[in-house]
Amino acid sequence: MSIRLSTGGRFLNRARPVRFSFNGQRLPGFLGDTLASALLANDQMMVGRSFKYHRARGVVASGSEEPNALVNLGSGNRHEPNQRATTTALFDGLEATSQNHWPSLEFDIGVVNNALMRFLPAGFYYKMFIHPRSFWKHIYEPFIRQSAGLGKAPAPEDQDPDTYEHFYSFVDVLVVGGGVAGLQAALSAAQSGVKVMVIEQSAHWGGRAPVDGGTIDGMDPDAWVEKTLNTLKSMPNVTVHTRLMGAGVYDHGYALAYERLSDHDPDKGGVRHRLWRIRAARIIAATGALERPLSFAGNDLPGVMLASAVRDYVVNYATAPGQSTVVVTNNDDAYRTAIVLKNAGLDVPAIIDARPEGGGALMEEARGLGIRIETGRGIARVRGLRRVVSVQLCEQDGDGAVLEDIPCDAVAMSGGWSPVVHLWSHCGGKLNWNEAGAFFAPDPDRAPTDQTGAPFVYCAGNANGAMDLKTVLQDAVEQSQNVIGSLGCESGDASVPSVAQTQEAPLLPVWLMPAQAPKALRSKAWLDYQNDVKVSDVQLAAQEGFESVEHTKRYTTLGMATDQGKLSNINGLATLSKALGEDIPAVGTTTFRPPYTPISMGAIAGEARGALFQPVRKTPLHDWHEAHGAVWEPVGQWRRPYCFRRDGESTQDAVNREITATRASLGLLDASTLGKIVVKGPDAGRFLDMMYTNMMSTLPVGKCRYGLMCSENGFLSDDGVVARIDDQTWLCHTTTGGADRIHAHMEEWLQTEWWEWKVWTANLTEQYAQIAVVGPQARTVLETLGGLDVSKEALPFMHWVDGTLGGLPVRVYRISFSGELSYEIATPASHGRALWDRLLEAGAAFDATPYGTEALHVMRAEKGFIMIGDETDGTVIPQDLGLHWAISKKKDDFLGKRAQQRTHMTDPDRWKLVGLETLDGSVLPDGAYAVAEGRNANGQRNTEGRVTSTYHSPTLGRGIAMGLVHRGPDRMGEVIRFARDDGETMIEARIVNPVFFDPDGEKQNV
């Protein structure tokens, strides 16, 4: 059983006992524990069930590479699945539950026994669920969804109560990793005066060195780390951070780092996670190395752990995973674990070393402690059901014939070490195979490069393939000097600390134990614990013809779990290369992608949640609208009133009332959101003639003209009224959603194509509040306010005038989008509310009625006016809409002209705009299709048109609609049929002129 040792524990604060719960059971631990160390200290060897076979699984590792010990953390609105117990700091009251089991962790009904496992081989899903095709959606997928998956998503109604934020940081050198390599590299770099930021993902500095031993400058690694850290902290050009993980490296020296501020202390308050968005001239990845498991049968039993992790738990957490631990290795490093265990008073029945000659000085030290050493031997299989009972010794170079059964309750395995090259690889750094160490290491000649073509990521220490303390520190200094040199800075102190260390014998690559293991053993030798991929699966994939490592990965799911194959990648591709009879470098590696370990969605969102999720744009009249029953409609990021509901009114009632009141007397509309772009310069007229389909250069000063804008492909993009302000100045109104887009469109043409034209633009949309005063009493109410002559003679239709109304500075445009006598009045935004209030006051005698966007839409539809986004969808040209009158035939060119002359655009068979009246007066469904005879090649009903706008017109007391219909204008009076949503019920509608109301414009020409 695993136990807490009575003394020791570098990270433990024994004065601060805490209590936590696991699957409802209350357990003790100490501050400084991780959840994993505390579970082990309580003999909780089994922590979860595997993904595919539901096999019992325990803690394997001691850091972020952990594949098995994933738990649900917290409850209610703080519930979070898939949290790694090894990186979860223990705190008082922590609640964790195990995942992927039913009904209980100890007894799981889904466990796949040995007989059944044969039926879940590599590519199982692909093979089994292909036929019949129709079964996928309703039978296979629901079944797979139920049996697969790690953890449970939080309940949809739960809102995360925590807060998150971003922080932008700019440094010369970002050092990722606070082990001895990172600290030494930071120190060397900082001495040149450049800005250095050092980030460490855990709460502790020094990495593995304090556990693994050696002497630096005559000091214990711990003491050296403290001294170096204090030096760094004293330097004004250095910042150091713990609990801050380098998550990803991107182009142009951009890096994301993930800070966990209060996960270890949820009562601390403040933001929980902070996402650092760092721009670094250079990045030093001192990210260390990860130990590899060995592939032997039963290597996934709870109690089988990485040798380094066993050592970490004993030294850092005073926790022994077993009282009797067998060490199995292909290298010297694992001997350190045996020595640590023995010195802690624990039993080590044997060290099983696959190397025929065994190891070097560390082996002798272990032998000296009286530990039995078996060289040239391996483990045939680990025995046990939910925990280790014994290991079966065999010859490594054999087929697994059992020599002896060695009882034990834990196994510490080491297959060698792999540099953590993730950050190097994120932005394109390539790797070389290191034969001696059997690992991939960065190729300095194929580094990730920045915008100048210079390498911007440098690996140092273990991450760079320097595997012992002395070369680690040498490499850290060397890479740091390279970085400083590449920045063109004077290098500072380039001295390397002196190191005393034990010499190690070479490793022997071991990819399968024993080497000739038969299928029965291979199919129990795990490569990827989290996704349940075994040696036999990868071999099967190779046998079935998978040659690319990327394909094999997807077929077998090797390395595709939340740990991204941190432990399994190298073992998996070594297995694949052997099966293919190729060298490992010829097979290659899969691609590492950010983030290094999963980061929270909250950190990615940052402040963007709740009220700050998206900016809401508000007009100067927004508060009035809100106080007067506005039913809001989002238009771009604006909120516009759809209508103003009074007590007891339905939304439809309100819309009808607003329309009727406006047509009868007086309506007021907040039109502030319409785009207002001023265009000025000697070439402005010429420019606008290109932008618009009609002629704008000839517009006289003081007049307005409705214009259309098209894309280069001829499609209608935006529309609005243009006013000529003076000789060189035009003001272009755009749609609400089009303001920023059209301004950018204008600037793009001016800056990239017609850069020599003398034209300036400015987007003045927000400078003005704009209010439409609409209806038969519109002129009267303006006359009541006083200050301007707005008579028919002084201000004719499609003219504008500057002046004051009721003492407020205004520009009045006599334009109409409703068919009524109508003025749009612009005033500086800071006077917008005052103007609105005065209009309401003066208009009270005429039942002045504020109206919303729906009334606006209905009234324009009654007049047959098109709406960008309703009648247009990016495939419609002005000619389709009968807008030929707004397309100049005199101009040589305008954007879209040539495209509109293409044969498809001039085809008489295009669908064109018409009005539609249902025979029964009902309202056509929005978007409904007109059904034609027959079916197309795909068996779908043929269509001959569709509804683009459809409303109930209170003015006419019936449904009105516009639509695009095949040769529509040629078919006036014809009755066509529209399908309801069910596709069966038909509604008959007559093709009519789209102008339903006041076709002669008598109402606006007064």
Binding site: T163, E165, H166, F167, Y168, S169, F170, K195, P236, T239, G269, G270, V271, R274, R277, R279, G606, E607, A608, A611, L612, Q614, P615, V616, R617, K618, T619, P620, Q637, W638, V678, K680, G681, P682, T729, K758, W760, T761, A762, L764, T765, E766, Q767, Y768, G807, L808, P809, P828, A829, S830, H831, G832, R833, A834
Partner: protein, 190 residues
């Protein structure tokens, strides 16, 4: 004539820094080739300040110039005088190719006061806020979270932020959220 209303009526938040919506501020937009000596001369004659260089500002009392791009500048001053200033600049620019507009009401202005303002802005804007990289006298045209903004430091303990009027509430909420004392971050030397 009514009193000009700002977007938020002078909203205030007291946190790590004090976030305050400034009173109505005059702002005139000048679009012209700022390297053109005729343009520079006209600005000097009307405003009494020299056109600042890249990312630069120039101030005399409440009058100021903000460089926004090689062909775009903002002239700050009293709100009441901005229309007259547009006319005066138009006159002085004569035949020079330029666009002058009153944009006073198109924007909202905030002041940040307190020593923590560099961190507040660094939470929201992709700008190097280190004291040796961004000093009083410089302006940055950038974004705050999801919206366009510009800001400059008057001194180490006070900054001005401008954004579009329609998103004034969003920006005020952003700045207040970032200035919440519970989220204080000390990153830059004070």
């Amino acid at each position: 004539m009514s009193e000009p209303m700002t977007a938020l009526g002078g909203a205030v938040y007291d946190g790590v820094v004090t976030v305050r919506e400034a009173p109505a501020t005059g702002m005139v937009l000048l679009r012209a080739d700022l390297s053109d000596s005729a343009v520079q001369e006209a600005v000097r004659a009307v405003i009494g300040l020299s056109v600042p260089g890249q990312r630069g500002t120039a101030f005399a009392g409440s009058t100021g110039l903000l460089w926004l791009s090689p062909d775009e500048m903002i002239i700050l001053g009293s709100h009441a005088e901005s229309r007259a200033r547009v006319a005066a600049l138009d006159d002085a620019l004569g035949s020079a190719h330029a666009l002058v507009c009153d944009v006073s009401d198109a924007r909202a202005v905030f002041t940040l006061e307190g020593r923590g303002l560099r961190e507040i802005l660094a939470k929201l804007a992709p700008v190097d806020m280190a004291p040796d990289r961004f000093a009083p006298g410089e302006v940055r045209r950038t974004r705050l979270a999801q919206v366009a903004a510009a800001f400059w430091l008057r001194d180490e303990a006070s900054a001005q932020v401008i954004c579009f009027r329609s998103v004034a509430q969003y920006v005020f909420d952003l700045l207040s959220d970032a200035a919440d004392p519970a989220n204080e971050l000390r990153h830059f030397p004070r």
